[in-house]
């Protein structure tokens, strides 16, 4: 009798679980980003804009770029994300691993993106970049090139770089006089890698390292570092908040974040339609009303009203900049990460 009762409880539970999983198949469209002020503003202008235009419910969630979760989601065929914002190297890897759907270019219009704004599995969302900056209240006429950043006599103080080989090794080569166009050619050779590390050795005692994107502005403000290389978006926002950091566009290194659809998403068709809508210039211009966005959409990027509103818009400043080579980092990332960590610990 007791067993029978237990059985029926178990059956009821199993039934409820099955119902729940059926329910999950017909769920709302779920879009995922890196959070922060971008997502807070994109929620209104892009996500809910699309929801209103198509009369459906769109929810959004935040992740911090960790791929392990996506991989296990796809492998266990329990996909709870539909549209997701991804950094370039993760997008390329995930595309080759079948973690992202190939973009349906009959739904998403390919010709509206800036050069480099489309890949097999991704449609360009926004540009991001890092530049050199310092506090003019503490330093008059600070370094405005990476070569000058290496001049520790003229410019004493700590230099804050990102604690990854990506961007750091490029900066070392730029400082050593390698033209931007040749940086990745040089860095692909063992001699070029040694050259970058040797260059970093020259100022190693003056170097500090940051991990989280909020740190450069924070550590310049707190006086821990005198010069820093940080995300331009954060520098612009600090300036909006009263800081007067110079934007040294000649020192810009930049890349693109993409929208992608998670493989096996029950809403993949709807996801493609959403990507088409949120990469159009009209909603992006609406987003620009509240947030200084650097869109990967050609028309939006060329819109004079937008660049006037957002002096930090990257597409206006890329002429002297270095485009971070995604393919290079997918190829050499693991190897250089190991060498970087060996070098740091030396």
């Amino acid at each position: 009798m007791v067993e029978r009762n237990l059985m029926s409880v178990a059956m009821a539970l199993a039934g409820a679980a099955m119902l729940a999983s059926f329910g999950a198949n017909a769920r709302d469209l779920m879009v995922v980003g890196f959070g922060g002020p971008f997502q807070d503003n994109a929620r209104t202008a892009l996500f809910q804009g699309y929801a209103k235009a198509t009369n459906q419910t769109v929810k959004d969630d935040v992740y911090n770029g960790e791929m392990a979760k996506l991989y296990s989601m796809v492998k266990s065929n329990d996909v709870i994300y539909d549209v997701i914002m991804v950094e370039a190297p993760e997008l390329v890897r995930g595309c080759e691993d079948g973690i992202f759907e190939k973009i349906d270019w009959s739904v998403v219009k390919k010709d509206k993106f800036i050069p480099g704004g489309t890949t097999t599995c991704g449609a360009g969302a926004v540009l991001w970049g890092v530049t050199l900056f310092y506090d003019p209240a503490k330093v008059q006429n600070g370094p405005d090139t990476y070569a000058k950043l290496w001049d520790v006599k003229t410019y004493p103080g700590k230099r804050l770089l990102r604690s990854t080989p990506k961007t750091t090794l490029e900066i070392a080569l730029l400082a050593d006089g390698v033209p931007a166009a040749d940086v990745y050619k040089v860095l692909a050779t063992p001699a070029g890698q040694k050259r970058a590390f040797d260059k970093l050795d020259q100022i190693k005692p003056q170097l500090m390292w940051w991990k989280s994107g909020t740190q450069p502005v924070q550590l310049i403000a707190s006086g821990d570092a005198t010069y820093a290389v940080g995300f331009t978006g954060r520098i612009v926002r600090a300036n909006d908040g009263g800081a007067r950091y110079p934007l040294l566009w000649k020192t810009l290194l930049y890349s693109v974040d993409y929208w992608a659809v998670v493989k096996g998403s029950p809403n993949s068709r709807e996801g493609m339609k959403m990507i088409e809508w949120i990469t159009d210039s009209k909603p992006l211009l609406a987003l620009a009303e509240t947030y200084a966005v650097s869109p990967a959409n050609k028309d939006a990027a060329a819109n004079p009203a937008l660049s006037a509103k957002n002096p930090g818009m990257l597409s206006s400043h890329v002429s002297d900049a270095l485009f971070i080579d995604t393919e290079f980092w997918v190829q050499h990332g693991e190897d250089l990460e190991q060498k970087f960590n060996a070098w740091v610990a030396k």
Partner: protein, 394 residues
């Protein structure tokens, strides 16, 4: 009767046993397998794998292997499964990824005989070592990840060699992890001991308040506590302001992103794990022993060393063990307040899990960390008197 009782007892503990198996043993075995498993190439390129396994490893493989790899690479790229192969081979030999992608893209232009066509496309396809690498990567198990985690690697001819000086990180990383954990443990016990003693001698009401003061930070998220230290220790932070006001230092000192900050934050986070077992042991010690020692003429230091300290050893051992085990796996705290040369093993496990999706490396590091920790704790049990797992709290 006895057997029936045994069966009944077994039935009672069965759910617990299942829980331990499902939540501990199975994941451990999966991790172990991930550290030595080698399925990538066999899964994505099955016909190539069969063809190179039939080859004797001398000279170049037969045309069948060339034909299979040309065809299967293109299929794998189209079917979005080329990533695992290119990553696996690129990890062992940087540059392989570009070669495989180039070959996959060129498929439509390739014509039989594929041997000549592939070598014409890229001369690397004519190297015996490259084919030996592919052949090695079709073995059922691979020592590659475990070797790499110990700064060793497999040379093209299959022998095990030391990694170059500018690539050796992991041995130093394990050493650093254990050194940091050791000092954090020592500091926690040294600071925790007098604190626990004081609390154990307080009247009950005050003892409860003191324990609450120990427990409140214990209930606060590690992330919050670490971030608080980040703010306290920065150049224009309160600690520097205090030091300057007291004229201990003239100019503010850099403290964040240093080993010092890692020690401060880790000791603060882990201190309750030392205090609580110490307190519970000290609470159970009858003061009559100390009085007896005093009445027999032992001076204060001798009463402590000969009577009190030996009786609190189980608490010291339990607290130290708990702090050490937790410290060995620390991730957030060194990542936030430490510099790149203060990172511990977990940092790399997270890096390989999340950034490069090299789960073989992540699993190998995790397994080695577990094995080394078990070894150290085992040695400690033999060497330190009174050190027993299974005493207070464990």
């Amino acid at each position: 009767m006895a057997t029936r009782n045994n069966l009944f007892a077994a039935g009672l503990i069965a759910p617990l046993l299942l829980l331990v198996v499902a939540s501990f043993i199975v994941p451990l075995l999966v991790t172990l397998y991930t550290a030595v498993g080698n399925p990538e190439v066999r899964d994505a390129l099955p016909r190539t794998a069969a063809a190179v396994r039939a080859w004797n490893g001398e000279g170049l493989p037969p045309e069948a292997a060339y034909a299979a790899i040309a065809e299967e690479l293109a299929l794998a790229q189209e079917g979005q499964s080329i990533g695992q192969v290119s990553r696996r081979l690129n990890f062992e030999q940087p540059g392989m990824r570009a070669l495989l992608l180039k070959t996959a893209r060129a498929k439509t232009d390739l014509r039989a005989p594929f041997k000549g066509a592939l070598i014409a496309l890229d001369p690397r396809w004519g190297e015996t070592d490259l084919w030996r690498l592919i052949r090695r990567s079709t073995d059922a198990l691979t020592p590659l990840f475990l070797l790499r985690s110990l700064d060793l690697s497999v040379a093209p001819d299959g022998s095990v060699v030391h990694a170059g000086k500018d690539e050796s990180v992991f041995l130093a990383l394990f050493a650093r992890t254990f050194v940091i954990s050791f000092w954090v443990t020592v500091l926690c016990v040294l600071i925790g001991y007098p604190v626990a003693y004081t609390i154990s001698t307080l009247p009950r009401r005050w003892a409860n308040i003191a324990l609450a003061l120990v427990l409140v930070p214990f209930w606060t998220s590690i992330l919050v506590r670490t971030t608080a230290w980040f703010i306290l220790l920065q150049k224009e932070g309160p600690v520097n302001a205090l030091l300057q006001a007291l004229h201990v230092v003239e100019a503010p000192v850099t403290m964040i992103f240093t080993r010092f900050a890692v020690y401060v934050a880790m000791v603060h986070v882990l201190l309750p794990f030392a205090i609580l077992p110490l307190y519970s042991v000290m609470k159970g010690i009858d003061p009559v022993y100390l009085r007896a020692a005093a009445s027999l003429g032992a001076p204060g230091w001798k009463r402590f060393l000969r009577v009190y300290l030996p009786m609190t050893m189980p608490g010291v051992a339990a607290g130290a063990l708990m702090v050490f085990m937790l410290a060995v796996g620390f991730y957030v705290t060194p990542a936030l307040v430490g510099g790149p040369d203060d990172q511990m093993v977990s940092y790399f496990i997270a890096f390989f899990t999340n950034q490069t999706i090299n789960w073989g490396m992540a699993a190998a590091l995790a397994c080695l960390l577990l094995a080394m920790t078990a070894l150290l704790v085992g040695v400690a049990r033999l060497v330190v008197p009174g050190f027993r797992v299974g005493t207070v709290g464990l």
